[in-house]
């Protein structure tokens, strides 16, 4: 399924997911040695009480530094940022992240669509958006917008997803550049910005 597309000049990789995505993240992220001149932003649906869990696990397991997201934090390459629960995460054109507590979108806050769309507007071609396992349709519209603005979109292979609905829906409506198994996901991220 994979198309030959070499990704260069990427500034930010946004990974969105819902049910079944945490295990994928915890499998992949610790294996990434370093980020080649881009930042990773993770937008996953979770309960507000779980807020620290993912951060803490990544800090323990991963070489890449996790930066806590506060309003207007600068987005710096080499770091991982995790969207806090109960806020939408937005990208500003001056390379900062901002937060928003407005209404839920797709029953979700943070909404993956909101982050994908806003990243597309701020970073255009320099966005790579990845959508993982999940059981609602959040993310699909955002992927379309990323693509419209010239970015690259990748979706977890539904066959390898714990919850295939979200990636299936995305494949149906957004024509992704890559469809990746869990194992391929790691090579894909490592290949970014490598000529």
């Amino acid at each position: 399924m994979e198309k030959n597309k070499v990704i260069t000049n990427c500034k930010v990789v946004i990974i969105g997911g819902s049910a079944g995505s945490l295990s994928v993240l915890l499998q992949i992220l610790p294996q990434i040695p370093k980020l080649n001149d881009f930042a990773i932003v993770i937008v996953v649906h979770r309960k507000s009480t779980d807020d620290q869990t993912l951060e803490d696990l990544l800090k323990l397991k991963s070489n890449i530094k996790v930066k806590p997201v506060e309003d207007k934090v600068p987005l710096t390459s080499g770091f991982v940022y995790i969207a806090p629960s109960n806020y939408h995460l937005l990208f500003e054109k001056n390379h900062t992240l901002s937060l928003d507590t407005s209404e839920k979108i797709n029953y979700s806050r943070p909404s993956i669509d909101v982050s994908f769309e806003s990243a597309a507007e701020a970073y255009g071609k320099s966005v790579v958006a990845i959508l993982l396992s999940g059981s609602n349709s959040d993310g699909t519209n955002g992927l379309k917008v990323v693509k419209d603005f010239g970015g690259t979109i990748a979706v977890q292979n539904p066959l390898s997803a714990e919850m295939p609905f979200m990636p299936n829906n995305a494949i149906l409506y957004s024509n992704p550049d890559f469809i990746l198994n869990k194992e391929e996901m790691l090579d894909f991220i490592n290949s970014i910005n490598k000529e």
Binding site: E70, D71, K72, H88, S102
Partner: protein
């Protein structure tokens, strides 16, 4: 989606026609809010929306009301309210009179939460809560102290997580889907319209709460507002922000000391 240039045109026109300055609002969020109103009200073209805003002051008011985010809840972030209850109120309680300012209070859920905690600490009689917002419509709701009954289960859980020990339902009367809060709580509240972008300090306070408002402003405006709070805060008074907001980018950190993990700072000089 609207274009950047269209958003800037709207900002300029609103300033020119009505004197309200959205110029220092965070663009990413403002853009989404404007797109939401355009969609809600069924405009097919941006220019139709823009001319309605220009020439119809009533519609302009609606747009401002819809753009400003009014998502709130009682005892929002219960851990924060637990710190206020256990650490801040005992300190404020030593004063003969306590002045609080809730800036950006929206429909008032957090103002009533604070009044309940003051009452339980035996401090309500000597407290005064100034509750302000830019949006006159939400202030009308706040004054009434009427909130949707369906939310009470969640609020009651928040209340208990925040250390509340009473029967939460004793604070309101339930009727036809609404919960009307005890009028005694409101006797110590003063509601008025206040614009953080352009209005000045109007009193000196012991505790200022402004939660999840600064996130909608850019760095420059955040600085202005934090300075406004600084001018309005007594020495040894407290400033409380939203869980993901910070003073870090806005003010000399020697002037303020942060409490634990919560977003509460004490003015130390």
């Amino acid at each position: 989606m609207i274009k950047d240039i269209e958003l800037e045109t709207l900002i300029n026109d609103v300033y020119e026609y009505y004197g309200f300055d959205f110029g220092s609002y965070s663009r990413a969020s403002l853009k989404r809010r404007v797109e939401r109103v355009i969609q809600l009200d069924g405009f097919l073209h941006f220019h139709e929306f823009l001319s309605k805003v220009r020439y119809d002051p009533e519609y302009y008011k609606r747009v401002v009301d819809e753009i400003t985010v009014n998502v709130t809840e009682m005892f929002r972030d219960p851990a924060f309210y637990a710190v206020v209850r256990n650490e801040i109120l005992p300190l404020l309680g030593t004063k003969p009179f306590i002045r609080l300012w809730h800036a950006g209070c929206s429909t008032g859920e957090e103002v009533y939460s604070m009044a309940i905690m003051l009452k339980e600490a035996g401090l309500l009689h000597k407290s005064l809560i100034y509750a302000t917002d830019i949006n006159a419509t939400v202030l009308e709701t706040a004054k009434k102290g009427i909130f949707p009954l369906r939310m009470m289960k969640e609020y009651s859980e928040n209340y208990r997580t925040a250390g509340g020990k009473e029967d939460f339902s004793s604070y309101y009367i339930a009727n036809y889907g609404i919960a009307k809060f005890d009028e005694e709580l409101a006797t110590k509240m003063v509601f008025s319209q206040h614009n953080l972008v352009s209005d000045n300090s109007f009193n000196e306070f012991d505790l200022i709460l402004c939660r999840n408002v600064l996130i909608y402003f850019d760095n420059d405006l955040q600085k202005r507002v934090i300075n406004l709070f600084d001018e309005s805060l007594a020495v040894l008074g407290f400033l409380a922000l939203g869980t993901k907001e910070t003073l870090k980018y806005s003010i000399d950190s020697n002037k303020y000391k942060q409490l634990d993990k919560e977003k509460i700072w004490r003015k130390i000089k």
